[in-house]
Symmetry: C2
Subunit: 268 residues, 2 copies
């Protein structure tokens, strides 16, 4: 079964029912998943080089997920095999004062892929209907207005040649506990820990509801959402790689036509 069918968000769902430990791909072993991921990434790298050479399509991968869900790790996995020449990452943290002076799509729009590029958003404009909603910085009415704005924005991107893949890395609450505890207990990881991680964990249910609502409100065939189970790191990487590969394969990429005048050229 294609990963794009396996993980595509259904019309109705709750994250509580989605098993974050599910491992439908691979053979269930970490080593097996890692090996599969490497193979898939090598194929992505070939296709991505073609994407870059052809300079026709644009690919945008949006990564969202709770704290510790593995967004950074997922990005790292991609770079382990894909050439950074055509792969770019934009990480969106809390908006700076400058950024907050603009509309919330402004800073995001600046980083969308150009022709031939593949761009990964590590967090995205979705933060503006997630954390802002849970912290009640915006009310329900404003949130729905933003869903519509986001739908419009993404439709425009799709209509102008951008292939969009949106992934929510779904971890269980117990897995998050272990990962946060590891951050606290490991002196080399403690710098990653922030008091807000605990505050947000306390609002776990509210965040899950905000994710469900935002995902359902913005899922579209031209901007599909995938719920990737992320309790297993190797399987998470495999799932994302497979989603990307299937997406690139659907583009029917080709090498630019060879230049006949070069056929006999000898460099001196």
């Amino acid at each position: 079964m294609k990963a794009r069918e396996q993980f595509r968000v259904p019309d109705k769902f709750t994250l509580d029912d989605a098993d974050a430990a599910r491992q439908p791909l691979g053979d269930g072993s970490k080593a097996g998943d890692k090996e599969c991921t490497d193979d898939v990434l090598e194929r992505i790298n070939d296709l991505q080089t073609m994407l870059y050479a052809q300079r026709k399509h644009k690919v945008l991968l949006v990564l969202q997920g709770m704290d510790t869900s593995g967004k950074d790790g997922a990005v790292r996995s991609l770079y382990s095999k894909i050439s950074p020449v055509g792969l770019r990452t934009a990480a969106f943290k809390a908006p700076t004062e400058l950024e907050a002076g603009y509309d919330y799509l402004w800073r995001v729009h600046r980083h969308v892929p150009a022709k031939g590029e593949m761009v990964v958003f590590n967090r995205s404009h979705y933060e503006e209907v997630l954390i802002t909603r849970v912290l009640k910085q915006i009310d329900g009415k404003e949130c729905r207005r933003r869903y519509a704005q986001i739908r419009d924005f993404e439709r425009m991107l799709a209509e102008t040649g951008t292939t969009i893949v949106k992934v929510m890395l779904h971890i269980s609450k117990s897995e998050q506990r272990e990962r946060l505890q590891a951050r606290i207990d490991n002196p080399k990881k403690q710098w990653k820990f922030d008091q807000s991680d605990i505050d947000q964990r306390k609002q776990w249910r509210a965040f899950q509801r905000a994710y469900e609502e935002a995902i359902l409100a913005t899922d579209a065939d031209h901007a599909p959402w995938y719920i990737v189970p992320a309790d297993s790191k190797p399987h998470r990487d495999l799932a994302i790689a497979r989603l990307l590969l299937e997406t690139l394969e659907s583009l029917k990429l080709r090498w630019p036509a060879p230049d006949a005048s070069l056929a006999t050229l000898k460099i001196r």
Copy 2:
């Protein structure tokens, strides 16, 4: 011998005398160089995480070199092991119309590292004293004015906390012939080939002289130039990794002090 001593540009030199096939590091085998590079990159990754956690230092790696000298490959090697969270790349191609409307340092300045970041420049402001000089878009007087501007700019960066490492990837003219020919002959690489590659190859000597002059004019202890022999790709990657590692080691990085209040914290 430290790589920083091995490759640091001497007070007087010509590129003709610098052996592009020299392999002073490693055991002379490709597999050995690859393995060494992986080890060094793993250590860089640890230090880079510390750099990121500490948010005190900024590191800038400038990569320059003739066409096919391996700038893209060198960047790729870094990403194979170093987390992209704190590693950023800025590639500078021919200036766009927008960019050309500003002074030549404008677009470069926007991409310098912030605290905790390591940034790689794939080409840089040095193009503005290299190709522009060879194509006679600027005369000698303007070129010398720019050397001084670049010195001032880099001194400012260094004085405000940026550790600068400048690398020229030095390939031989015959190695470039083979690599250009491979681009032409391989349908998967032909898209990389551009007629200007040949035009520039015809001006090989002029480019080498422009490099020598620019390097000598802008080498400084706070912004050192290293000439890395680049006919061997694995050795090139090893040399760059070693230069970076030694540079990071010299910063005496430390993990941020642990937060005592977290010592007994248990996540629920």
